[in-house]
Amino acid sequence: MNRISDLPNDILQIILYFLSQKDAVRTSILSKSWRYRWRTRPNLDFSEATFKGKKQEFLSFVDNTLQQYRDRRLCLDEFHLRISLDDCLKHKSVSLLEKWIPILTTMGVKESRLSISTVDRNDMPSVVFRAESLQQLYVEGFDMGRDAVPTIKLSKHLKKLHLRRVHIEEKIFRKILSSCSLIETMHVEECGGLRNIKTNNLRRLKDFSFERNNEEDERCSIEIYPASLETIKIRFGNISFDKGAEFRNLVDLDLRNVESSRARLFSCEFPSLRRLTLSDCDGLNEELSSDRPRWCRFPSLEFLKILNCDGLKDIQLVIDAPNILNFEYRGNFIPSISFVTNSREWKSKIDLYKSSLSLPKLDELLKSLSQSEISLMIDNTNIIRENIPVQDNGYNKPVVVMESLNMNCGCSLSYFSSILNCLFCICRPRNMGYCNNYDGGSVMQFVGFMWRILIERESYQLSQLVLRDLEEARMEIKEWYEEEWHQAPLSEFVISHGRREGYFTPKCQTRFTLKWRETA
């Protein structure tokens, strides 16, 4: 039996609470008793964007609604306003803000959020500094540096602060931070004028991010209080941690273009860290000595990414990460990284580009990752073929099985086959492909070579070792509209590839699947 029509009022009010502002207002059309019901819920969410450019109507709507709530002494727990101060109604908007914000305070609104943005560099309306109940503030594009602002402080209840393209002077920023010590989230994005950020007094800070897009001469230096933080993200900034600091609650650490020598990363404790990304970070070698391996404990680490960190070149790292799920490395040298883990199903992705590669070093790396599903990309065929001890019967130790190997080409057939033979001494990939799908000419060359060497088994290309162990090789193609790979003859590839016009037409993918004999 249909009991929905019996839903009591208080349940309807709860459902109303969860509707967007627009849908809630729309319920006024349902029936007479619903006409003003939307205006009784304890949450208001006004966003200029939903009015699609009719600023005057938006301002009137907010003004009328807020007045109704005040005059009828209705309960208002949550208030969210998103407004821009760019158009000809700019001054009107500011004076209305000066009217509304005090209303929020007198009404005792517990959670108020304000987003103000501008494209021109206006001064921040001073009323924002006087908003006593603000919980979240998003400011885009304003100038917070002028002396015109009388009292520099923000609501002490502020929990979330997000500044984007705001021009702010350091002493102003410091004053602001000292006035709102309960902040839990702080995002500072592209804010010129800041050279130094100290957030040590923010004992509740959980989520901190600092981003700049350009490489500036002098990077902003950042100090934080470690204990409360759960997420840290820095781009083009210099963060420094105290030696031995314990990041008890940190789950996600993402550092890009950071001078990590001052970070003293490896002398800190990260018991809860699940994701670590280090990209283009210089100076790692300054912290670590190169004479013996450095043991790094990450008891909760699941995702590790190390990209373009030159400082690791001569460092040996042992990563003790029992729960690792995914390791990604990109660089122009083979790192000396090994893992200590119980993890049964993890993946590693190694991308080596623009460097000369030493086979023994590569062998060492692959062996240390052998418990994972390895995808290796070699963007350069300049391989230094130092001797890998190979016994006469052709077997070394068990060769590392790899999920995929993607390579470059651009050389002669005999050189290419000698590279393959060397690589097959240290690894047995299940799939092989070309590493750069956009370079039309080289893909053709790669596929042609692979076909001749692996499938046609042209004489004298593959070594005895490989011939003995390679049971089967097939070529597979997957068109952009297909979900599954299918086996294909060379002719199909030639036709399919030849059909490609233009740089951006979706390509078909090609790979070679290899079946190797099980070694003891």
Partner: protein, 168 residues
């Protein structure tokens, strides 16, 4: 109670269509209504729940068992897992089931479940036409055509890009 022996106490719940269900007490007291009944000494026999039918009660019990099984590894992680469980729990319910659920959660005084179901109902409503909402909620349109047009004009920004036909 059974605290010393370590075996969990089970309660017997009876729906309004006389179906009986057995639930571990620690899961059942997620309902404040049931908890109060137990504290009032009602647990000896069967706990009658006059405002829930058997089909809905079965689902509620699945929810209770599911939520109380989530281990408490740490406040934030635990809360995230519970939220994810709730989202999944309501995700494949049709509107009629959601309505039964919200009434049951209200009667049983289970605020987190109530919020999750209400939020889901709100999301379902967002995509529907005015006619659909009126039908489903049993709301009779008592506006005259002029009044209705006036309301629409007053809040015309909310009707932009939305179907207002009665078929849906």
């Amino acid at each position: 109670m059974a605290a010393e022996t370590g075996t969990p106490t089970t309660l017997t719940l009876k729906s309004n269509d006389d179906e009986l269900f057995s639930v571990v007490e620690s899961a059942a007291i997620l309902s404040v209504t049931i908890r109060n009944m137990v504290e009032d000494g009602c647990a000896g026999g069967v706990i009658p729940l006059v405002n829930v039918d058997g089909k809905t009660l079965a689902r509620v019990i699945t929810y209770m068992n599911g939520i109380s099984a989530i281990p408490g590894v740490g406040a934030a992680a635990e809360e995230e897992k519970k939220k994810s469980y709730r989202d999944k729990f309501v995700s494949d319910m049709d509107f009629e089931t959601l309505a039964d659920m919200v009434l049951a959660a209200n009667y049983l005084n289970m605020s987190c479940l109530m919020d999750a179901v209400s939020a889901k109902i709100a999301r379902v409503m967002e995509k529907k036409s005015v006619g659909w909402v009126r039908r489903k909620f049993g709301i009779e349109n008592d506006y005259t055509p002029e009044e209705e047009a006036a309301v629409k004009e007053e809040h015309k920004w909310t009707f932009e890009g939305v179907e207002t036909d009665d078929d849906n």
